[in-house]
């Protein structure tokens, strides 16, 4: 039972990541392979704020989202000068740079040693130290993120995002400053990823840079491509299946080390097969 709760919490965190990435990639067509960077900024921001200031978890996580948003505004501004595959390359570049900062700015982040002893959230005297309580908290955050995303994607703003994905240049002729829209959604997505990062940090109570590198960004991409681009439900489906999958592998009897690598093999092959045979994924509205 505890194990199921653990899986559910992981699912919630990755569902938030998947939804936020879906807004950027699936709806707007920006192939951001940098999402783990914002996930990491959120996690580290929360951990450091909790450790060095007296801020409450709920305030700290929002501050983390703002910090991530600011970073995204700067990064997004640079990335918006690139198109398509160059965009992906630039995004990889920024992911590596942020990862490098997390790894090497040791005075602040403690580098490879990571940050241990992160507190669980506390509200009005109640501490979310029980996993079941944390799960409920995570689900609430997921519901909020889903709700905001649903609002965005069903609005005219969402329609503009899809049009940017389809033909950005043609859209601009009809009066849209596409760079503003792209920047806006990139910042929103990054802020949401930071929320997931804060949740992750507080749940595991320990973070180190390895959770926020390129491999993680590729994993998030696999989730939404598998679940289906351009669909919030697809993001949820993808997160659900790809989080549960490694657990299924465990039952096949691999050692934990091998299981971790097997997951990578599966994610990698999944991307290849999806591109070859089913680019719309399970429930996608859009094919790359």
């Amino acid at each position: 039972m505890e194990y199921l709760i653990h899986l559910a919490i992981l699912f919630s965190i990755f569902a938030i990541l998947a939804i936020s990435l879906q807004l950027i990639v699936g709806f707007t067509g920006l192939l951001s392979v940098a999402h783990a960077a914002f996930y990491g900024i959120g996690a580290y921001a929360l951990a450091l704020l909790l450790e060095h200031t007296g801020l409450n978890f709920f305030v700290a996580i929002l501050v983390g989202a703002v910090i991530s948003g600011v970073a995204a505004a700067l990064i997004g501004l640079v990335l918006s000068k690139f198109r398509d595959d160059y965009y992906a390359l630039g995004a990889i570049g920024f992911n590596v740079i942020i990862f490098s900062i997390l790894l090497n700015w040791q005075e602040v982040t403690r580098g490879p040693l990571g940050i241990p002893g992160i507190d669980r959230p506390e509200l009005l005297g109640f501490t979310f130290s029980e996993n079941i309580a944390f799960l409920l908290l995570a689900l609430v955050f997921l519901a909020i993120v889903y709700g905001i995303s649903e609002f965005i994607t069903t609005s005219s703003f969402g329609r503009a995002l899809r049009a940017i994905r389809e033909d950005e240049e043609a859209l601009s002729v009809f009066g849209y400053r596409t760079s503003f829209f792209k920047l806006a959604i990139f910042v929103i997505g990054a802020a949401m990823a930071a929320i997931a990062g804060g949740l992750f940090a507080s749940y595991i109570t320990f973070i180190d840079p390895t959770s926020f590198g390129i491999a993680e960004s590729v994993f998030m991409l696999s989730i939404i491509i598998f679940g289906g681009l351009g669909s919030l439900r697809g993001a949820l489906v993808g997160a659900l299946i790809l989080i549960l999958l490694p657990e299924a592998l465990r039952f096949v009897g691999f050692t934990p080390d091998i299981a971790a690598q097997m997951r990578q093999v599966v994610y990698g092959l999944l991307l290849v097969f999806l591109m070859l045979y089913r680019p719309q994924g399970v429930a996608g509205e859009y094919r790359l």
Binding site: E166, F174, Y286
Partner: protein
């Protein structure tokens, strides 16, 4: 007569080839002006430059008696009251027909489009435009699923939905069935009656003769001739340009 569009010594070149070469033309307001010329004469390049898709290399452009501009950004085009259709249909493929049209009606601002108030009004405008081209029944289909003729009609619907004062149609009739041709010509005449300005790039001379008040002929990026359809189409130089092509 006032001008909806004017160019002065306009030039655009690609790798040494002047697609538009020192072109000075005026598009009169409230008329249907045809732009004709053999393939490669620069008609589409001209349209692309006027709508900010290509940058201006030389000369200036004025839109609606506004100032002379050396630079037009594509998003400024709509503001200036200009819109267009694309020769190589550029629809938003993986979204619905209705969405393709609504895009042209809704707020262009990030906040305005997130918190839109008059959605019903915009929807009824989209409905009117789609009904005009006969695509309302297909509103839930993705643009990619339409037939070629329907796609061209959707392009027109999208342009109409902008309520722009000046519309550039780039070969809107290519590939249309006769009934659709009549439909489109009807739309053109209606627009003229409403006081709109139309620039019509076409190859079909019968349509040019039938619809246009004024014709501009381009050849190799330059202005070859202009005037009434009957005059221009009888002009020896024009005939030679087409035959020699």
């Amino acid at each position: 007569m006032k001008n909806a569009l004017k160019t002065k010594n306009l030039s655009k070149e690609f790798g040494g080839v002047k697609a538009v070469n020192d072109l000075s033309i005026a598009i009169p307001k409230g008329n249907i002006t045809g732009v004709i010329g053999p393939n490669g004469s620069g008609k589409t390049t001209l349209t692309n430059v006027l709508t900010g898709i290509h940058c201006i290399d030389g000369g200036v452009v004025s839109i609606s008696e506004g100032g002379e501009r050396k630079r037009i950004a594509s998003h400024e085009v709509f503001q200036a009251g200009l819109t267009r259709t694309f020769q190589n249909v550029r629809l938003f493929e993986q979204i619905t027909v209705l969405d393709n049209v609504l895009i042209a009606t809704t707020s262009r601002h990030v906040f305005g489009s997130l918190f839109e108030r008059d959605a019903a009004e915009r929807l009824s405008k989209a409905e009117a435009v789609l009904n005009r081209v006969g695509l309302w029944e297909k509103r839930e289909a993705n643009a990619a699923e339409l037939s070629y003729g329907q796609r061209k009609l959707l392009e027109i619907a999208r342009a109409l939905a902008t309520d722009a004062e000046t519309i550039l149609f780039d070969e809107p009739y290519a590939g249309l069935f006769p009934e659709m041709v009549k439909l489109v010509s009807g739309i053109m005449r209606e627009l003229r009656e409403q006081g709109k300005t139309i620039v019509l790039i076409e190859h079909d001379m019968a349509l040019i003769r039938e619809l246009c008040d004024h014709v501009i002929v381009m050849d190799a990026g330059k202005l070859l001739a202009e005037g009434k359809p009957s005059e221009v189409l009888a002009d020896k130089a024009v005939i030679e340009a087409y035959l020699g092509d």
